[in-house]
Amino acid sequence: MPSTITIQLNGEARQLAADATVRVLVAQLRLPVERIAVEINQEILPRAEFDRALADGDKIEVVTFVGGG
């Protein structure tokens, strides 16, 4: 098993440890868990499932609220 995986995070390639989870990723980015939403391969990942392991090639979107009308 390789020691790292490559994911697409908000459209950018990013290397993570092979055992990385969404919770680890969110902590690395210092994002407030309660204000974001995460999508893996176009499916919502509920907060309760943030400990799920990521896989090589996963497409992750992390969004939050910004100003809008």
Partner: protein
């Protein structure tokens, strides 16, 4: 009054006169605006975009008395340097209404709505499916399609739509919790371009009608409420005003004026002048 039928428009029996104290503080009786499980005393909904700063936005929100603001869903800033908009919104007083702005087809809008629900833990969504980036006009077919799908998923859907009474009726039938016909194109400041349509929409629907987009100035808000609508959503007119907080306050006065003007029941228009003072007993006509 929000459920009034056409025959009631501006014609309801007089309420008991307000007390002096009620008049002094402007607390005339009115029913709240209800959308889904949410109850709002303020019928003015504001945006959170295009303000010069978060501090100015907060001041404008407070001055306007709004209890509901729209927010957009976007990728997080991965540098971690961006400050969260939500730190400038008092969520104990203001409900977030996530939008699907920037979506140009139903699939995209459904996807963004799901993300907004997850981030905000709210089932409310202002559904926006635009036809193209030039006109920014809503795509009526895709909006109806996305409304059906989101209602099925348990969302409380507020579709931004054309000012077409039949489309609005279809959206209501599809389960929309309110409809949001445009006053005029987004950000244009043209006001209410088609007041007869807005009135026709209000007269034929049971769900709340909120005019969204195109409001430029307080009198536009007053006109919308005089037509009988249940609420107005605006963003640019306040955010891009020279003094957004003052404009927020002006919009608050404007909606209250229009709302009570509507509830009070306006006089019929006449082609001819009608004297306000008695015509009998004038000394000029009395002879000597």
């Amino acid at each position: 009054m929000t459920q009034s039928k056409p025959a009631d428009l501006g014609m309801r029996a007089a309420d008991p006169p307000p007390t002096d104290a009620e008049v002094a503080v402007g607390l005339l009786s009115d029913s709240p605006l209800r959308i889904g499980r949410h109850v709002f005393q303020s019928r003015l909904l504001l945006g959170t975009g295009k303000y010069p700063s978060h501090d100015v936005m907060r001041a404008a929100h407070i001055a306007s008395g709004t209890e509901c603001v729209t927010v957009a869903v976007r990728r997080v800033d991965l540098s971690g340097r961006e400050k969260s908009l939500l730190d400038w919104i008092d969520r104990s007083r203001i409900t977030l209404l996530p939008n699907t702005a920037g979506c140009f087809d139903a699939d995209e809008a459904v996807r963004v709505a799901r993300l907004g629900r997850e981030a905000g833990l709210s089932e409310l969504v202002k559904l926006e499916v635009l036809a193209d980036p030039l006109t920014l006009l809503p795509d009526p077919i895709a909006t109806l399609d996305a409304t059906r799908r989101l209602v099925k998923e348990g969302f409380v859907v507020l579709p931004y739509c054309s000012d077409d009474p039949i489309l609005c009726r279809r959206l209501e039938e599809a389960g929309a919790a309110a409809v949001m016909p445009l006053g005029s194109p987004i950000g244009s400041g043209q006001g209410i371009n088609n007041p007869r349509n807005i009135r026709a929409i209000k007269e034929s629907l049971h769900v709340p009608v909120l005019v969204d987009a195109g409001v430029g100035t307080p009198s536009d808000v007053t006109i919308a409420f005089e037509l009988g609508v249940d609420g107005v959503l605006l963003n640019t007119a306040v955010a891009q005003a020279h003094d957004p907080a003052r404009m927020g306050a002006a919009m608050r006065h404007a909606w209250i004026a229009g709302r009570h003007g509507f509830l009070a029941g306006r006089i019929a228009k006449s082609d001819h002048a009608r004297p306000s003072s008695p015509t009998a007993g004038t000394i000029a006509a009395g002879g000597s």
